[in-house]
Amino acid sequence: MLFRDAFKTSTRSLTHGKMRSILTMLGIVIGIASVIILMSIGQSAQDIILGQVQSIGSNLIIIIPGAPSNGRFSSPASAQGIVITSLQQRDVDALEREPSVSLAVPEVRGQADAVYGNNNVTVGFTGSTADFFTVSNLAKVSEGQTFTKSDVDSGNHVAVIGPDLAKTLFGPNINPIDKTVHLKGVSFRIIGVLGKGGTGAFGVDIGNLVVIPLSVAQKQLLGITYFNVIVAQANPSYDINFVKSRMTFVLRQDHGITDPNKDDFNIQTQADILSILGSITSILTLFLASIASISLIVGGIGIMNIMLVSVTERTREIGLRKAVGATDKDILQQFLIESVLLTFAGGVIGIALGAGVVGLAYFVLSTFFSIGWVFAFPISSVILGLVVSGVAGIAFGIYPARKAGKKNPIDALRYE
Protein backbone atom coordinates (compact mmCIF):
# COMPACT_ATOMS: atom_id res chain seq x y z
CA MET A 1 0.00 0.00 0.00
CA LEU A 2 1.38 3.37 -1.00
CA PHE A 3 1.77 5.96 1.72
CA ARG A 4 -0.27 8.31 -0.45
CA ASP A 5 -3.21 5.89 -0.37
CA ALA A 6 -2.89 5.32 3.36
CA PHE A 7 -2.82 9.09 3.91
CA LYS A 8 -5.87 9.61 1.70
CA THR A 9 -7.79 6.80 3.42
CA SER A 10 -6.94 8.19 6.85
CA THR A 11 -7.89 11.79 6.04
CA ARG A 12 -11.16 10.57 4.61
CA SER A 13 -11.96 8.67 7.80
CA LEU A 14 -11.17 11.70 9.93
CA THR A 15 -13.18 14.14 7.84
CA HIS A 16 -16.20 11.85 7.91
CA GLY A 17 -16.44 12.35 11.67
CA LYS A 18 -15.46 16.02 11.85
CA MET A 19 -16.97 16.79 15.25
CA ARG A 20 -15.42 13.72 16.83
CA SER A 21 -12.03 14.54 15.30
CA ILE A 22 -12.21 18.11 16.61
CA LEU A 23 -13.19 17.01 20.11
CA THR A 24 -10.49 14.36 20.12
CA MET A 25 -7.90 16.92 19.09
CA LEU A 26 -8.94 19.30 21.86
CA GLY A 27 -6.82 17.58 24.51
CA ILE A 28 -3.71 17.87 22.36
CA VAL A 29 -4.60 21.46 21.38
CA ILE A 30 -4.80 22.47 25.05
CA GLY A 31 -1.68 20.48 25.94
CA ILE A 32 0.46 21.97 23.18
CA ALA A 33 -0.91 25.48 23.77
CA SER A 34 -0.01 25.14 27.48
CA VAL A 35 3.53 24.05 26.62
CA ILE A 36 3.88 26.95 24.17
CA ILE A 37 2.52 29.52 26.63
CA LEU A 38 4.65 28.35 29.55
CA MET A 39 7.77 28.08 27.39
CA SER A 40 7.11 31.58 26.16
CA ILE A 41 6.76 32.83 29.75
CA GLY A 42 10.04 31.11 30.64
CA GLN A 43 11.76 32.59 27.60
CA SER A 44 10.40 36.07 28.36
CA ALA A 45 11.68 35.83 31.93
CA GLN A 46 15.05 34.71 30.59
CA ASP A 47 15.18 37.59 28.09
CA ILE A 48 14.31 40.12 30.80
CA ILE A 49 16.92 38.81 33.25
CA LEU A 50 19.65 38.53 30.64
CA GLY A 51 18.74 41.95 29.24
CA GLN A 52 19.23 43.43 32.69
CA VAL A 53 22.66 41.87 33.03
CA GLN A 54 23.66 43.11 29.60
CA SER A 55 22.36 46.58 30.37
CA ILE A 56 24.78 47.11 33.28
CA GLY A 57 27.53 48.03 30.87
CA SER A 58 29.88 46.51 28.38
CA ASN A 59 33.20 44.76 29.01
CA LEU A 60 32.47 44.54 32.71
CA ILE A 61 34.14 42.12 35.05
CA ILE A 62 32.88 41.75 38.59
CA ILE A 63 35.04 40.74 41.53
CA ILE A 64 33.24 39.39 44.57
CA PRO A 65 35.05 38.63 47.83
CA GLY A 66 35.36 35.01 48.92
CA ALA A 67 36.32 31.76 47.24
CA PRO A 68 34.59 30.78 44.02
CA SER A 69 31.62 28.55 44.78
CA ASN A 70 32.05 24.87 44.02
CA GLY A 71 28.61 24.16 42.64
CA ARG A 72 27.45 25.83 39.47
CA PHE A 73 24.36 27.21 41.11
CA SER A 74 25.52 27.68 44.70
CA SER A 75 25.75 31.30 45.72
CA PRO A 76 29.07 32.84 46.81
CA ALA A 77 29.78 33.12 50.54
CA SER A 78 29.47 36.91 50.48
CA ALA A 79 25.95 36.59 49.14
CA GLN A 80 25.03 34.33 52.05
CA GLY A 81 25.68 37.10 54.57
CA ILE A 82 29.20 35.97 55.53
CA VAL A 83 31.46 38.98 55.98
CA ILE A 84 34.58 38.66 53.89
CA THR A 85 37.10 41.42 53.95
CA SER A 86 39.47 40.25 51.25
CA LEU A 87 38.87 43.11 48.76
CA GLN A 88 40.84 46.17 49.75
CA GLN A 89 42.01 49.47 48.26
CA ARG A 90 45.37 47.92 47.38
CA ASP A 91 43.52 45.53 45.04
CA VAL A 92 41.91 48.46 43.23
CA ASP A 93 45.30 50.15 42.93
CA ALA A 94 46.90 46.96 41.63
CA LEU A 95 44.15 46.45 39.06
CA GLU A 96 44.40 50.03 37.85
CA ARG A 97 48.11 49.47 37.21
CA GLU A 98 47.26 46.51 34.97
CA PRO A 99 47.22 47.72 31.31
CA SER A 100 44.39 45.38 30.29
CA VAL A 101 42.06 46.97 32.85
CA SER A 102 40.64 50.40 32.00
CA LEU A 103 38.86 51.07 35.25
CA ALA A 104 38.45 49.41 38.64
CA VAL A 105 35.54 50.75 40.62
CA PRO A 106 35.07 49.62 44.22
CA GLU A 107 31.62 49.52 45.77
CA VAL A 108 30.19 49.09 49.23
CA ARG A 109 26.53 48.43 49.74
CA GLY A 110 24.12 48.83 52.57
CA GLN A 111 20.58 49.58 53.55
CA ALA A 112 19.23 52.57 55.43
CA ASP A 113 16.16 54.74 55.89
CA ALA A 114 16.23 57.79 53.64
CA VAL A 115 14.51 60.62 55.50
CA TYR A 116 13.28 63.93 54.11
CA GLY A 117 10.99 65.88 56.36
CA ASN A 118 8.27 63.49 57.42
CA ASN A 119 8.94 61.11 54.55
CA ASN A 120 10.85 57.97 55.37
CA VAL A 121 11.77 55.25 52.83
CA THR A 122 13.97 52.20 53.34
CA VAL A 123 16.47 52.15 50.49
CA GLY A 124 19.65 50.47 49.38
CA PHE A 125 22.69 52.69 49.12
CA THR A 126 25.93 52.26 47.22
CA GLY A 127 29.16 53.94 48.11
CA SER A 128 31.53 54.21 45.20
CA THR A 129 33.93 56.43 43.31
CA ALA A 130 33.07 58.92 40.57
CA ASP A 131 33.86 56.20 38.02
CA PHE A 132 30.73 54.35 39.17
CA PHE A 133 28.80 56.59 36.80
CA THR A 134 31.21 55.83 33.95
CA VAL A 135 31.10 52.01 34.07
CA SER A 136 27.41 51.52 34.71
CA ASN A 137 25.02 52.15 31.86
CA LEU A 138 22.14 52.30 34.29
CA ALA A 139 23.66 55.01 36.46
CA LYS A 140 23.26 58.04 34.23
CA VAL A 141 21.87 61.24 35.68
CA SER A 142 18.91 63.02 34.08
CA GLU A 143 18.92 65.99 36.44
CA GLY A 144 21.83 67.69 38.24
CA GLN A 145 25.21 66.04 38.17
CA THR A 146 27.25 63.14 39.48
CA PHE A 147 29.76 63.53 42.31
CA THR A 148 33.45 63.95 41.43
CA LYS A 149 36.76 62.44 42.50
CA SER A 150 37.30 65.45 44.71
CA ASP A 151 33.91 64.83 46.43
CA VAL A 152 35.07 61.26 47.16
CA ASP A 153 38.55 62.33 48.28
CA SER A 154 37.18 65.10 50.50
CA GLY A 155 34.37 62.97 51.91
CA ASN A 156 31.68 65.42 50.84
CA HIS A 157 28.17 64.54 51.88
CA VAL A 158 26.59 64.52 48.46
CA ALA A 159 24.23 61.97 46.91
CA VAL A 160 22.74 60.97 43.61
CA ILE A 161 19.34 59.31 43.99
CA GLY A 162 17.10 57.15 41.86
CA PRO A 163 14.04 58.66 40.16
CA ASP A 164 11.50 56.56 42.06
CA LEU A 165 12.98 57.61 45.41
CA ALA A 166 12.94 61.23 44.25
CA LYS A 167 9.23 60.93 43.52
CA THR A 168 8.46 59.21 46.83
CA LEU A 169 10.43 61.63 48.98
CA PHE A 170 9.71 64.90 47.23
CA GLY A 171 6.55 64.38 45.21
CA PRO A 172 6.03 65.72 41.73
CA ASN A 173 6.29 69.42 42.58
CA ILE A 174 9.55 69.70 44.53
CA ASN A 175 12.90 69.67 42.74
CA PRO A 176 15.12 67.33 44.77
CA ILE A 177 18.37 69.01 43.67
CA ASP A 178 20.12 70.70 46.61
CA LYS A 179 17.62 69.22 49.05
CA THR A 180 19.02 67.35 52.03
CA VAL A 181 18.21 63.75 52.93
CA HIS A 182 19.36 61.80 55.93
CA LEU A 183 20.77 58.28 55.91
CA LYS A 184 21.42 56.75 59.32
CA GLY A 185 21.38 60.27 60.72
CA VAL A 186 24.01 61.54 58.28
CA SER A 187 22.87 64.36 56.00
CA PHE A 188 23.48 64.34 52.26
CA ARG A 189 22.89 67.06 49.73
CA ILE A 190 21.25 65.72 46.60
CA ILE A 191 23.21 66.77 43.54
CA GLY A 192 21.72 64.52 40.88
CA VAL A 193 18.82 62.22 39.97
CA LEU A 194 19.33 59.08 37.92
CA GLY A 195 17.48 58.87 34.63
CA LYS A 196 16.23 55.30 34.63
CA GLY A 197 14.14 53.55 37.23
CA GLY A 198 13.23 49.92 37.52
CA THR A 199 15.18 46.95 38.72
CA GLY A 200 18.76 46.48 37.63
CA ALA A 201 20.92 43.41 37.66
CA PHE A 202 20.96 41.22 40.78
CA GLY A 203 17.72 42.79 41.94
CA VAL A 204 19.27 46.20 42.67
CA ASP A 205 16.42 48.65 42.73
CA ILE A 206 17.93 51.44 40.63
CA GLY A 207 14.83 53.57 40.98
CA ASN A 208 15.25 53.70 44.76
CA LEU A 209 19.04 53.66 44.92
CA VAL A 210 21.15 56.24 46.71
CA VAL A 211 24.73 56.61 45.44
CA ILE A 212 27.16 58.37 47.79
CA PRO A 213 30.94 58.84 47.87
CA LEU A 214 32.80 55.65 48.85
CA SER A 215 34.77 57.25 51.68
CA VAL A 216 31.62 58.54 53.42
CA ALA A 217 29.79 55.25 53.05
CA GLN A 218 32.73 53.23 54.40
CA LYS A 219 33.63 55.44 57.32
CA GLN A 220 30.40 57.08 58.42
CA LEU A 221 27.61 54.66 57.45
CA LEU A 222 29.17 51.19 57.51
CA GLY A 223 32.38 51.54 59.53
CA ILE A 224 34.38 49.23 57.27
CA THR A 225 37.58 49.43 55.26
CA TYR A 226 36.94 46.63 52.75
CA PHE A 227 34.73 46.54 49.63
CA ASN A 228 31.70 44.43 48.81
CA VAL A 229 32.49 44.31 45.14
CA ILE A 230 34.90 45.70 42.59
CA VAL A 231 33.56 46.34 39.11
CA ALA A 232 36.31 46.47 36.52
CA GLN A 233 36.05 47.61 32.94
CA ALA A 234 38.26 45.70 30.54
CA ASN A 235 40.44 47.57 28.11
CA PRO A 236 38.61 47.05 24.80
CA SER A 237 41.93 46.26 23.06
CA TYR A 238 42.15 42.99 25.01
CA ASP A 239 40.11 39.82 24.92
CA ILE A 240 37.80 39.67 27.93
CA ASN A 241 39.01 36.22 29.00
CA PHE A 242 42.61 37.39 28.81
CA VAL A 243 41.71 40.34 31.03
CA LYS A 244 40.02 37.97 33.46
CA SER A 245 43.13 35.79 33.67
CA ARG A 246 45.35 38.86 34.11
CA MET A 247 43.13 40.14 36.90
CA THR A 248 43.24 36.75 38.58
CA PHE A 249 47.04 36.80 38.35
CA VAL A 250 47.25 40.35 39.76
CA LEU A 251 44.92 39.64 42.67
CA ARG A 252 46.64 36.35 43.55
CA GLN A 253 49.94 38.17 43.61
CA ASP A 254 48.43 40.97 45.68
CA HIS A 255 46.92 38.50 48.15
CA GLY A 256 50.01 36.27 48.20
CA ILE A 257 48.08 33.23 46.93
CA THR A 258 50.14 30.45 45.34
CA ASP A 259 47.52 27.67 45.33
CA PRO A 260 44.79 28.50 42.77
CA ASN A 261 42.32 26.48 44.86
CA LYS A 262 42.70 28.91 47.71
CA ASP A 263 41.52 32.05 45.95
CA ASP A 264 39.74 34.48 48.29
CA PHE A 265 38.03 36.31 45.46
CA ASN A 266 35.70 35.37 42.64
CA ILE A 267 35.98 36.96 39.22
CA GLN A 268 33.05 36.77 36.84
CA THR A 269 32.65 38.26 33.42
CA GLN A 270 29.24 39.18 32.09
CA ALA A 271 29.43 36.05 29.94
CA ASP A 272 29.90 33.94 33.10
CA ILE A 273 26.92 35.58 34.76
CA LEU A 274 24.82 35.27 31.62
CA SER A 275 25.73 31.62 31.36
CA ILE A 276 24.70 30.89 34.96
CA LEU A 277 21.49 32.88 34.70
CA GLY A 278 20.80 31.34 31.30
CA SER A 279 21.12 27.87 32.81
CA ILE A 280 18.83 28.74 35.70
CA THR A 281 16.15 30.22 33.47
CA SER A 282 16.46 27.30 31.04
CA ILE A 283 15.75 24.93 33.92
CA LEU A 284 12.80 27.12 34.88
CA THR A 285 11.51 26.95 31.30
CA LEU A 286 11.97 23.19 31.23
CA PHE A 287 10.16 22.88 34.54
CA LEU A 288 7.23 24.91 33.26
CA ALA A 289 7.13 22.86 30.05
CA SER A 290 7.15 19.64 32.11
CA ILE A 291 4.11 20.79 34.04
CA ALA A 292 2.34 21.65 30.80
CA SER A 293 3.23 18.28 29.31
CA ILE A 294 0.98 16.59 31.90
CA SER A 295 -2.02 18.01 30.03
CA LEU A 296 -0.44 16.68 26.85
CA ILE A 297 -0.36 13.17 28.32
CA VAL A 298 -4.02 13.50 29.31
CA GLY A 299 -4.80 14.62 25.74
CA GLY A 300 -2.83 11.67 24.37
CA ILE A 301 -4.79 9.21 26.50
CA GLY A 302 -7.96 10.78 25.07
CA ILE A 303 -6.64 10.12 21.57
CA MET A 304 -5.87 6.51 22.46
CA ASN A 305 -9.33 6.04 23.89
CA ILE A 306 -11.07 7.44 20.81
CA MET A 307 -8.83 5.44 18.49
CA LEU A 308 -9.74 2.25 20.38
CA VAL A 309 -13.42 3.10 19.99
CA SER A 310 -12.82 3.82 16.32
CA VAL A 311 -11.09 0.46 15.81
CA THR A 312 -14.04 -1.33 17.42
CA GLU A 313 -16.59 0.62 15.40
CA ARG A 314 -14.78 -0.05 12.16
CA THR A 315 -14.13 -3.75 12.77
CA ARG A 316 -16.14 -4.78 9.67
CA GLU A 317 -14.26 -2.24 7.56
CA ILE A 318 -10.99 -3.75 8.81
CA GLY A 319 -12.34 -7.22 7.95
CA LEU A 320 -13.28 -6.11 4.45
CA ARG A 321 -9.94 -4.44 3.82
CA LYS A 322 -8.11 -7.56 4.97
CA ALA A 323 -10.36 -9.77 2.84
CA VAL A 324 -9.49 -7.81 -0.29
CA GLY A 325 -5.75 -7.89 0.36
CA ALA A 326 -4.74 -5.51 3.16
CA THR A 327 -1.95 -6.86 5.33
CA ASP A 328 -1.63 -6.31 9.10
CA LYS A 329 0.92 -3.61 8.32
CA ASP A 330 -1.44 -1.80 5.93
CA ILE A 331 -4.16 -1.61 8.57
CA LEU A 332 -1.69 -0.61 11.30
CA GLN A 333 -0.32 2.11 9.02
CA GLN A 334 -3.78 3.48 8.27
CA PHE A 335 -4.78 3.80 11.93
CA LEU A 336 -1.39 5.14 12.95
CA ILE A 337 -1.58 7.84 10.29
CA GLU A 338 -5.05 8.76 11.56
CA SER A 339 -3.75 9.11 15.09
CA VAL A 340 -0.66 11.11 14.03
CA LEU A 341 -2.80 13.35 11.82
CA LEU A 342 -5.11 14.02 14.77
CA THR A 343 -2.29 14.89 17.16
CA PHE A 344 -0.29 16.80 14.55
CA ALA A 345 -3.28 18.91 13.54
CA GLY A 346 -3.94 19.39 17.26
CA GLY A 347 -0.32 20.45 17.66
CA VAL A 348 -0.53 23.03 14.85
CA ILE A 349 -3.77 24.47 16.26
CA GLY A 350 -2.25 24.40 19.77
CA ILE A 351 0.80 26.34 18.55
CA ALA A 352 -1.43 28.92 16.87
CA LEU A 353 -3.59 29.17 20.01
CA GLY A 354 -0.51 29.46 22.24
CA ALA A 355 0.95 32.19 20.01
CA GLY A 356 -2.39 34.02 20.08
CA VAL A 357 -2.62 33.89 23.88
CA VAL A 358 1.02 34.98 24.31
CA GLY A 359 0.54 37.86 21.83
CA LEU A 360 -2.71 38.93 23.49
CA ALA A 361 -1.14 38.80 26.96
CA TYR A 362 1.80 40.89 25.73
CA PHE A 363 -0.57 43.41 24.18
CA VAL A 364 -2.72 43.66 27.33
CA LEU A 365 0.29 43.87 29.70
CA SER A 366 2.12 46.50 27.68
CA THR A 367 -0.93 48.55 26.65
CA PHE A 368 -3.11 48.56 29.73
CA PHE A 369 -0.69 47.82 32.56
CA SER A 370 2.52 49.39 31.18
CA ILE A 371 4.46 46.29 32.23
CA GLY A 372 7.74 45.96 30.35
CA TRP A 373 7.14 42.35 29.40
CA VAL A 374 9.23 40.92 26.60
CA PHE A 375 7.30 39.19 23.82
CA ALA A 376 9.10 35.89 23.37
CA PHE A 377 7.86 33.14 21.10
CA PRO A 378 10.82 30.79 20.82
CA ILE A 379 11.04 28.84 17.57
CA SER A 380 12.28 25.93 19.68
CA SER A 381 8.84 25.75 21.31
CA VAL A 382 7.21 25.53 17.86
CA ILE A 383 9.55 22.74 16.79
CA LEU A 384 9.08 21.02 20.15
CA GLY A 385 5.30 21.37 19.84
CA LEU A 386 5.28 19.81 16.38
CA VAL A 387 7.68 17.01 17.30
CA VAL A 388 5.89 16.23 20.58
CA SER A 389 2.47 16.17 18.91
CA GLY A 390 3.78 13.84 16.19
CA VAL A 391 5.44 11.57 18.74
CA ALA A 392 2.27 11.62 20.89
CA GLY A 393 0.34 10.44 17.83
CA ILE A 394 2.65 7.48 17.44
CA ALA A 395 2.93 6.75 21.17
CA PHE A 396 -0.81 6.86 21.85
CA GLY A 397 -1.87 5.50 18.46
CA ILE A 398 0.39 2.48 18.22
CA TYR A 399 -1.64 0.29 20.58
CA PRO A 400 -5.03 0.83 18.86
CA ALA A 401 -3.34 0.57 15.45
CA ARG A 402 -1.66 -2.73 16.35
CA LYS A 403 -4.96 -4.00 17.69
CA ALA A 404 -6.60 -3.11 14.38
CA GLY A 405 -3.82 -4.71 12.37
CA LYS A 406 -3.99 -7.97 14.33
CA LYS A 407 -7.71 -8.49 13.79
CA ASN A 408 -8.65 -11.78 12.23
CA PRO A 409 -10.46 -11.06 8.92
CA ILE A 410 -13.22 -13.61 9.52
CA ASP A 411 -13.97 -12.44 13.05
CA ALA A 412 -13.85 -8.85 11.84
CA LEU A 413 -16.26 -9.50 8.96
CA ARG A 414 -18.70 -11.27 11.28
CA TYR A 415 -18.57 -8.48 13.90
CA GLU A 416 -21.99 -6.98 14.60
Partner: protein, 235 residues
Protein backbone atom coordinates in the same frame (compact mmCIF):
# COMPACT_ATOMS: atom_id res chain seq x y z
CA UNK B 1 -6.99 -24.70 -9.45
CA UNK B 2 -8.45 -25.67 -6.06
CA UNK B 3 -7.56 -28.98 -4.43
CA UNK B 4 -8.73 -29.92 -0.94
CA UNK B 5 -7.93 -33.23 0.63
CA UNK B 6 -9.34 -34.43 3.94
CA UNK B 7 -9.82 -30.82 5.00
CA UNK B 8 -10.70 -30.34 8.64
CA UNK B 9 -11.58 -27.36 10.78
CA UNK B 10 -12.09 -27.49 14.49
CA UNK B 11 -13.14 -24.55 16.67
CA UNK B 12 -13.07 -24.08 20.37
CA UNK B 13 -16.44 -22.85 21.51
CA UNK B 14 -16.41 -22.05 25.22
CA UNK B 15 -13.51 -24.49 25.59
CA UNK B 16 -15.48 -27.26 23.85
CA UNK B 17 -14.02 -28.40 20.52
CA UNK B 18 -16.50 -28.14 17.67
CA UNK B 19 -15.79 -29.86 14.36
CA UNK B 20 -17.00 -27.62 11.54
CA UNK B 21 -15.32 -29.66 8.78
CA UNK B 22 -14.63 -33.36 9.24
CA UNK B 23 -12.55 -34.25 6.21
CA UNK B 24 -13.65 -32.65 2.98
CA UNK B 25 -12.10 -33.73 -0.31
CA UNK B 26 -12.72 -32.33 -3.80
CA UNK B 27 -11.09 -30.26 -6.49
CA UNK B 28 -12.28 -27.40 -8.67
CA UNK B 29 -10.84 -26.78 -12.10
CA UNK B 30 -10.22 -23.42 -13.70
CA UNK B 31 -13.38 -21.98 -15.29
CA UNK B 32 -15.84 -24.04 -13.25
CA UNK B 33 -18.95 -22.55 -11.64
CA UNK B 34 -19.45 -24.48 -8.40
CA UNK B 35 -22.19 -24.10 -5.83
CA UNK B 36 -21.55 -25.29 -2.31
CA UNK B 37 -24.89 -26.03 -0.71
CA UNK B 38 -25.96 -27.11 2.66
CA UNK B 39 -28.25 -26.29 5.54
CA UNK B 40 -27.38 -23.77 8.20
CA UNK B 41 -24.49 -25.00 10.36
CA UNK B 42 -23.38 -27.59 7.80
CA UNK B 43 -19.92 -26.02 7.48
CA UNK B 44 -20.33 -24.51 4.01
CA UNK B 45 -19.36 -20.99 5.05
CA UNK B 46 -16.37 -22.32 6.99
CA UNK B 47 -15.33 -24.18 3.86
CA UNK B 48 -15.65 -21.01 1.76
CA UNK B 49 -13.59 -19.02 4.26
CA UNK B 50 -10.80 -21.58 4.04
CA UNK B 51 -11.01 -21.80 0.24
CA UNK B 52 -10.81 -17.99 0.04
CA UNK B 53 -7.79 -17.81 2.38
CA UNK B 54 -9.72 -15.92 5.04
CA UNK B 55 -9.12 -18.76 7.47
CA UNK B 56 -6.74 -21.70 7.80
CA UNK B 57 -7.71 -25.36 8.18
CA UNK B 58 -6.77 -27.30 11.29
CA UNK B 59 -6.20 -30.51 9.32
CA UNK B 60 -5.85 -31.92 5.81
CA UNK B 61 -4.39 -30.05 2.88
CA UNK B 62 -5.44 -27.25 0.58
CA UNK B 63 -3.61 -26.32 -2.59
CA UNK B 64 -4.53 -23.18 -4.51
CA UNK B 65 -3.02 -22.96 -8.00
CA UNK B 66 -0.67 -25.76 -6.99
CA UNK B 67 0.61 -24.08 -3.84
CA UNK B 68 -0.21 -25.34 -0.35
CA UNK B 69 -1.78 -22.90 2.11
CA UNK B 70 0.51 -24.33 4.79
CA UNK B 71 3.56 -22.99 2.97
CA UNK B 72 2.25 -19.45 2.83
CA UNK B 73 2.60 -16.64 5.36
CA UNK B 74 -0.32 -14.40 6.29
CA UNK B 75 1.21 -11.69 4.10
CA UNK B 76 1.34 -14.07 1.14
CA UNK B 77 -2.25 -15.10 1.75
CA UNK B 78 -3.25 -11.42 1.72
CA UNK B 79 -1.37 -10.97 -1.55
CA UNK B 80 -3.16 -13.94 -3.17
CA UNK B 81 -6.54 -12.72 -1.90
CA UNK B 82 -5.85 -9.38 -3.51
CA UNK B 83 -4.46 -10.62 -6.81
CA UNK B 84 -6.26 -13.90 -7.55
CA UNK B 85 -9.51 -13.79 -5.56
CA UNK B 86 -12.63 -11.66 -5.59
CA UNK B 87 -15.22 -11.61 -2.81
CA UNK B 88 -18.97 -11.08 -2.82
CA UNK B 89 -20.59 -11.14 0.62
CA UNK B 90 -24.21 -11.56 1.62
CA UNK B 91 -24.18 -8.25 3.51
CA UNK B 92 -22.33 -6.44 0.68
CA UNK B 93 -19.68 -5.03 3.06
CA UNK B 94 -19.53 -1.68 1.31
CA UNK B 95 -18.27 1.41 3.13
CA UNK B 96 -21.51 3.36 3.02
CA UNK B 97 -19.98 6.85 3.26
CA UNK B 98 -17.67 6.27 0.34
CA UNK B 99 -18.75 6.61 -3.28
CA UNK B 100 -19.15 3.65 -5.62
CA UNK B 101 -15.82 4.61 -7.19
CA UNK B 102 -14.01 4.65 -3.84
CA UNK B 103 -15.51 1.33 -2.77
CA UNK B 104 -14.52 -0.40 -5.98
CA UNK B 105 -11.03 1.10 -5.77
CA UNK B 106 -10.31 -0.44 -2.32
CA UNK B 107 -8.70 -3.70 -3.54
CA UNK B 108 -6.54 -1.70 -5.96
CA UNK B 109 -4.93 0.35 -3.20
CA UNK B 110 -3.55 -2.89 -1.75
CA UNK B 111 -2.29 -4.09 -5.14
CA UNK B 112 0.80 -3.34 -7.22
CA UNK B 113 -1.29 -1.51 -9.82
CA UNK B 114 -0.05 2.07 -10.23
CA UNK B 115 -2.51 4.83 -9.24
CA UNK B 116 -2.68 6.17 -12.81
CA UNK B 117 -4.21 2.93 -14.14
CA UNK B 118 -6.74 2.59 -11.38
CA UNK B 119 -9.43 4.93 -12.62
CA UNK B 120 -9.73 3.01 -15.93
CA UNK B 121 -9.99 -0.31 -14.08
CA UNK B 122 -12.60 1.03 -11.64
CA UNK B 123 -14.69 2.52 -14.45
CA UNK B 124 -14.52 -0.71 -16.46
CA UNK B 125 -15.56 -2.81 -13.47
CA UNK B 126 -18.46 -0.51 -12.61
CA UNK B 127 -19.55 -0.44 -16.26
CA UNK B 128 -19.52 -4.25 -16.37
CA UNK B 129 -22.20 -4.34 -13.66
CA UNK B 130 -24.21 -1.57 -15.34
CA UNK B 131 -23.77 1.13 -12.69
CA UNK B 132 -21.64 3.67 -14.54
CA UNK B 133 -24.18 6.44 -13.86
CA UNK B 134 -23.81 5.80 -10.10
CA UNK B 135 -20.01 6.04 -10.09
CA UNK B 136 -19.88 9.01 -7.71
CA UNK B 137 -22.97 8.17 -5.66
CA UNK B 138 -22.45 7.29 -2.01
CA UNK B 139 -22.78 3.54 -1.54
CA UNK B 140 -25.20 4.05 1.35
CA UNK B 141 -27.72 5.66 -1.01
CA UNK B 142 -27.98 2.64 -3.34
CA UNK B 143 -30.63 -0.11 -3.33
CA UNK B 144 -29.73 -3.60 -2.13
CA UNK B 145 -29.36 -4.94 -5.67
CA UNK B 146 -27.18 -2.02 -6.69
CA UNK B 147 -25.03 -2.49 -3.61
CA UNK B 148 -24.42 -6.13 -4.48
CA UNK B 149 -23.53 -5.15 -8.05
CA UNK B 150 -21.02 -2.66 -6.64
CA UNK B 151 -19.65 -5.49 -4.51
CA UNK B 152 -19.28 -7.62 -7.65
CA UNK B 153 -17.50 -4.72 -9.40
CA UNK B 154 -15.15 -4.53 -6.41
CA UNK B 155 -14.54 -8.28 -6.68
CA UNK B 156 -13.76 -7.94 -10.39
CA UNK B 157 -11.57 -4.89 -10.36
CA UNK B 158 -8.28 -6.72 -9.80
CA UNK B 159 -9.17 -9.22 -12.56
CA UNK B 160 -9.01 -12.26 -10.23
CA UNK B 161 -8.96 -15.91 -11.35
CA UNK B 162 -11.68 -16.95 -8.94
CA UNK B 163 -14.68 -15.26 -7.40
CA UNK B 164 -16.02 -16.43 -4.06
CA UNK B 165 -19.62 -15.48 -3.36
CA UNK B 166 -21.11 -16.12 0.07
CA UNK B 167 -24.93 -16.11 -0.13
CA UNK B 168 -24.85 -13.21 -2.63
CA UNK B 169 -28.64 -13.15 -3.04
CA UNK B 170 -29.45 -13.67 0.63
CA UNK B 171 -30.34 -10.02 1.29
CA UNK B 172 -31.94 -9.29 -2.09
CA UNK B 173 -35.41 -9.46 -3.59
CA UNK B 174 -35.87 -12.05 -6.34
CA UNK B 175 -35.46 -9.55 -9.19
CA UNK B 176 -32.21 -8.13 -7.83
CA UNK B 177 -31.05 -11.65 -6.94
CA UNK B 178 -31.60 -12.75 -10.52
CA UNK B 179 -29.61 -9.78 -11.84
CA UNK B 180 -26.72 -10.61 -9.51
CA UNK B 181 -26.75 -14.29 -10.50
CA UNK B 182 -26.82 -13.38 -14.16
CA UNK B 183 -23.74 -11.22 -13.68
CA UNK B 184 -21.96 -14.11 -11.93
CA UNK B 185 -23.06 -16.45 -14.71
CA UNK B 186 -21.71 -14.09 -17.38
CA UNK B 187 -18.40 -13.93 -15.51
CA UNK B 188 -18.29 -17.72 -15.59
CA UNK B 189 -18.97 -17.63 -19.32
CA UNK B 190 -16.04 -15.28 -19.74
CA UNK B 191 -13.81 -17.97 -18.23
CA UNK B 192 -13.69 -17.05 -14.57
CA UNK B 193 -13.95 -19.64 -11.83
CA UNK B 194 -16.91 -18.93 -9.55
CA UNK B 195 -17.42 -20.60 -6.17
CA UNK B 196 -20.79 -19.86 -4.65
CA UNK B 197 -22.10 -20.73 -1.22
CA UNK B 198 -25.86 -20.80 -0.84
CA UNK B 199 -28.63 -22.67 0.87
CA UNK B 200 -31.12 -21.83 -1.92
CA UNK B 201 -31.52 -24.56 -4.51
CA UNK B 202 -32.60 -22.21 -7.27
CA UNK B 203 -29.53 -20.02 -6.75
CA UNK B 204 -27.25 -23.05 -6.59
CA UNK B 205 -28.59 -24.26 -9.93
CA UNK B 206 -26.91 -21.39 -11.77
CA UNK B 207 -23.71 -23.38 -11.30
CA UNK B 208 -22.61 -26.34 -13.41
CA UNK B 209 -21.67 -28.32 -10.36
CA UNK B 210 -23.19 -28.58 -6.90
CA UNK B 211 -21.30 -29.83 -3.87
CA UNK B 212 -23.61 -30.56 -0.97
CA UNK B 213 -22.17 -30.33 2.53
CA UNK B 214 -23.77 -31.90 5.57
CA UNK B 215 -22.32 -32.10 9.09
CA UNK B 216 -18.95 -30.94 7.87
CA UNK B 217 -18.60 -33.56 5.16
CA UNK B 218 -19.33 -33.77 1.43
CA UNK B 219 -22.73 -35.37 1.03
CA UNK B 220 -22.83 -35.22 -2.76
CA UNK B 221 -20.88 -33.72 -5.63
CA UNK B 222 -22.88 -33.54 -8.89
CA UNK B 223 -22.42 -31.95 -12.28
CA UNK B 224 -25.47 -30.22 -13.76
CA UNK B 225 -25.53 -30.64 -17.49
CA UNK B 226 -28.89 -29.01 -18.25
CA UNK B 227 -29.62 -25.90 -16.26
CA UNK B 228 -32.82 -24.84 -17.98
CA UNK B 229 -34.70 -24.86 -14.68
CA UNK B 230 -32.99 -21.92 -13.07
CA UNK B 231 -34.29 -19.12 -15.26
CA UNK B 232 -37.76 -19.79 -13.92
CA UNK B 233 -36.72 -20.40 -10.34
CA UNK B 234 -35.48 -16.94 -9.46
CA UNK B 235 -37.96 -15.12 -11.59
Amino acid sequence: MIEVNDLKKEYLEEETPTKALRGVTFSIDKGEFVSIMGPSGSGKSTLLHILSFLDRPTGGSYKFQGKSIDDMTDKELAHVRNKDMGFVFQSFNLLSRLTVYDNVEIPLIYSDIPPKKRSTLVEEAVRSVGLEEKLYTEAGKLSGGQKQRVAIARALVTDPNVIFADEPTGNLDSQSGLQVMEILESLHHKGRTVVLVTHETQTAEFANRIIKIKDGMVESDKLITANHLRSGNLK
